[in-house]
Subunit: 366 residues, 4 copies
């Protein structure tokens, strides 16, 4: 719900922000150097369109290596497209998609899953710290009315890793939720808009956090962590791809010059660029959490497990930070003292230090 | 949720039930004599199709009289069609419809509103005894993100009268919920599948329970209370009709021999037939509630305000009733001891008496 | 296109027509006596809703007998619903449905197939006298781009029998078109809104005109030929039923008191009622064609093979007929001299005779 | 239809093409230097997402200047998205979109307009050389059945400039078609995937080819003529924008790092880059047409008015060209001797000369 509020308190159009010091989101960044160079390098010659190029073929192989599994990979330009298209092949128009009430697909995509599935229903399963509660999911599925024509039919479980609260599902939690879903015949989708941040947060392998835990289809995000506009839908069971390619084309998400999407993913995944970027972002978040968490009146609302910090700070502190030129969103909460700070691959340690200093000073003056 | 469970515990195909003693629903009935005669009388001669007949024109005037207001009335054959079509002209594809989590449109129409609106989102607003809680609705609307492109846009409030719990909104409750919705720019829809039962339950006028309370569009139900298959979408503000007629045709709900739908509604509304039918059904429900409520181990889960009784009874009592040939649904609940009893215009007082006797005897034997 | 014009030249609301003499359509009629009696007989007792009744089960068996084949039968209230629902299980959202440009599904259902399929494309294949031309269909399928992501994918061929021109496909024509469609992997749907009129026109068996000719799914019409509002979707290959039941419910076309739909179909099919009705209607059409075809200036635009006569008559003759109180539609054509005359199960021979007399007299006076 | 065939004769995956000599399409190219530099320059600092950046604001102003008119501009990544989103705000689900049968929206977008409009119908209006015939459109609109509930309602005329045949509508032709559409209450959309090629072909101003000719909404293409992936929907009447922004977000086409779309458009439009690119492409096409048109057995199927050449050549000539390493599509036609040659902003004059030489030599050897 928070996201709604922020949208309400922020103007639709913002003044240009040429400096850094912007903790609003990890999508305020550009591309990392490696991605940039790859795009430059690729801009010569010609290539067949719509994915008929060599670079796109290489990306398929690269994902297969990194995930240690056969995969079918489909690059798209946005995360909403990745999620909605993935869900559209897993869910019939009369299907139900189970997700956390705060999930991006439920709250922040203006109904994209409903459009792409032809009107499926998203069923919110609450749980603490942004995680779906296993018991709640079990209870919902037991009541769902499988095979009964009056009721939408459970088709898919969608897990967000890292969650909208900046927390992580453990491998055990992922596995038990996926097992439950599979037991009831559902497919398991993962919204990995911040996949790399979660991966380095857990310190596991891509395989462990996906197919080994029971994930069938992954929305793999790169945009927030170093690409310009590149995500990928990754099927771990190619027989589940179904009519994905027709749905992607039909929704206007098949880019003619596909190779420039693929090139971003390739550069992002090569030589550990994506992991390096994510480790930096997470470290910056940790630094913020530690520097702010102990201030008088400060309260970390969620544990900081990836690259997002949700913290309540006294109003004077917030005003001092805003006065110093820092950008961040005030979340819904008592008197709007809850803010979200998002760090990225290019967050400057100096900005983080300064942020903490300003907060500490303002805190002493209270 | 209950409805889901019942679906699970009932076989898809039932043995024929030629006798009465069936309390499963008010849709196990046929038509009442007045409706029947009207259909016979109309079956002579010919008439222009698709509503171009005199009977359909008369029905318009009849609704206007009864509701003391200008109206635009569109007969359809099912309640799901009435609801989904009504909502489809009030809600854009990226819109949100606010309703009780247990509402028929949310739980029992297999996603019909989603289909007809082009993928709108139904947002469940909880409240006790089947009624939406005013405070919960206010909080949801304040968080909704009006005008923010990331979020579905609140478009409509749908109230069910009588509720799925067999309870009623008071006129005050209807008015304050409608005012709240209108304050936020939403339209107000009423699912009146059991409109007549609610009306005689409150003892008010049709006008008081609809447009005077702020209802913009009504799904007026007749099927459960004496018609064969006849409902009507009633617009109290003809300028809100918009493209309803195209949507009705496009969904296959414009009957060519429309006059036979209209004739049912006409006979139903004339000479107080509909009110007489509803009074009888409600009285039968009261008799059941009184006869069973005081039994040891019995618990009325919801107050009986229309023609539905939700009651928990000891297992031996339930088995005795089933053994005696009574039909009813076991609802979800501790050990499935919660049952729903629905009475109708043609429920036999003798059946009700016998039902109570059997229950009392079985109760004594415990 | 004709239908469009008629719509334009007719007022939306018509004066009541209590007498007969109405040749506008076969949907200006009521129900035939046998159907009426069945409805009365069924109106006693109670029955489980949504098709869980004995009558609906019997109708399944009755269709199986009459079509000499295993079938899955689903009653609905309108022909548009039957067509659009049938097509929705045969065609994906990115699919193509091949039909005659004048087909009812393409011209007269306000886009119902597009709604129910989630946006499939109807591809018009022209041909003379309302029949799809085999060569045109072959050429279109050869160009269709099977498996190519840029193009909608051919999924279904829809044949209208009797056609919108009142003509019939021969069994050979049906067979060769169905073979062609199957060769390309398409399913074959038949729009049988006037199935009985076509059947007696060809003098073949229901089996010969459907599954033996390659029809996979049939929209079986009863409304125009003696029912009030009863059609049925008939699958000849139950494994193709797919999710039909969810789609029917989701579209509001699952009637709670289903037995009253089923009862109409049962009475209609028993004791040859449907064939008797259709033979009468066709005979009346033949009488009109013969009585009018030889008049000076008269021109039968299509051969009269079922219960529709398309004929051009001199303006004075048309005015004389209208002056005499006959109702019919003026179709598009040179100076609107083309009219359509539709006969029905209850058309009075006396009306037909008088119609011809008036025309002949007016013709002499020219 | 041609496009279908090509799809059939080309393998889904192509070997990499590092060299030029590729005349398959103008989407086999990369970005022009000016666009590339703009992207590099923009990759510093941070900016608010979703269009809340300065660059996107500047693009609005730039379009207004160039089109000499108030505009509302919405960047998207693909032409299919631009077309389908533009049409979705002009057309209701039960609406009809009139276009040439060969239009990209009708043949090559896998039903994207149907998805985004919620199931509107595309009505093909034939005409020679890829242009809609005025008389055919008039006849279709006169038959359309405005206001009649049985028929889809005409909502929009879509014109493709340059056409799929590589030809151009004259300003007079555009104006008279737009006038006709407006007379019937339709809105006018232009698919300008090759807008710049058409503009320099006609030698008129952007204003003359759009709003001055009656175009209401333009799909402005940049990808084929020098951008990587950048198109824009341009509304000339901001009051017609309606809910475009919700539909763009809902379809996953609102890029978070929007500025990188905007930057491409900005660089493309500044300093006449787009016109220079288009002039070169058109000149290369002229050179091909002149060099090949006079060969024995050669036949220019359509006049070369933009950057596409449709020509029939003898089989030995085609084989010689293919043998020499040139890439192009064989179109449908007698014995597949019809090919399409597409030139681009970066087509090498040397490649064009060599292409003509090889053809001439092979021609002499016959």
């Amino acid at each position: 719900m928070a996201r709604n509020k922020l949208a309400l308190t922020l103007p639709r159009r913002d003044p240009p922000v040429v400096h850094a010091m912007n903790f609003c989101s990890d999508n305020v960044t550009g591309a990392c150097p490696e991605v940039m160079e790859a795009l430059l390098a690729l801009n010569r010659g010609s290539a067949m369109p719509y994915g008929g190029d060599e670079c796109t073929a290489q990306v398929q192989r690269l994902f297969a290596e990194i995930f240690e599994h056969e995969v079918a990979v489909f690059p798209v330009a946005t995360g909403s497209a990745a999620n909605a298209l993935a869900l559209s092949v897993l869910t019939p128009p009369y299907g139900a998609i189970y997700c956390h009430p705060e999930a991006h697909i439920n709250l922040d995509e203006c109904g994209a899953p409903e459009l792409f599935t032809g009107g499926a229903k998203l069923v919110g399963i609450p749980g603490e710290q942004g995680r779906i509660d296993w018991g709640n999911l079990k209870a919902a599925l037991e009541r769902a009315g499988f095979g009964v024509v009056h009721h939408v039919q459970p088709a898919c479980l969608s897990l967000t890793q890292a969650t909208e609260a900046g927390t992580l599902y453990s491998l055990e939690q992922l596995g038990s939720l996926a097992d439950l879903a599979h037991h009831f015949g559902l497919k398991v989708h993962m919204d990995g808009a911040r996949f790399a941040n979660a991966l380095v947060g857990l310190g596991c392998t891509p395989a462990e956090m996906t197919w080994k835990a029971g994930v069938d289809v992954l929305s793999f995000g790169a945009t927030k962590n170093g690409a310009w506009a590149a995500e990928a839908v990754v099927f771990f069971h190619p027989n589940q791809v179904g009519d994905f390619e027709f749905r992607r084309k039909r929704s206007g998400h098949l880019l003619s010059k596909m190779r420039f999407l693929s090139a971003q993913l390739q550069a992002y995944l090569q030589d550990g660029v994506w992991l390096r970027n994510a480790r930096h972002a997470n470290a910056m978040a940790q630094q913020l959490a530690q520097g702010l968490g102990s201030l008088p009146g400060a309260k970390l609302v969620y544990p900081t497990e990836a690259n997002e910090v949700f913290i309540e700070l006294p109003e004077p502190v917030l005003q001092a930070l805003e006065g110093a030129g820092f950008r961040f969103y005030r979340w819904l909460g008592e008197g709007h003292h809850l803010i979200r700070l998002v760090t990225a691959f290019n967050t400057l340690p100096a900005d983080v230090e300064r942020f903490c200093q300003v907060a500490q000073q303002a805190s002493r003056l209270q």
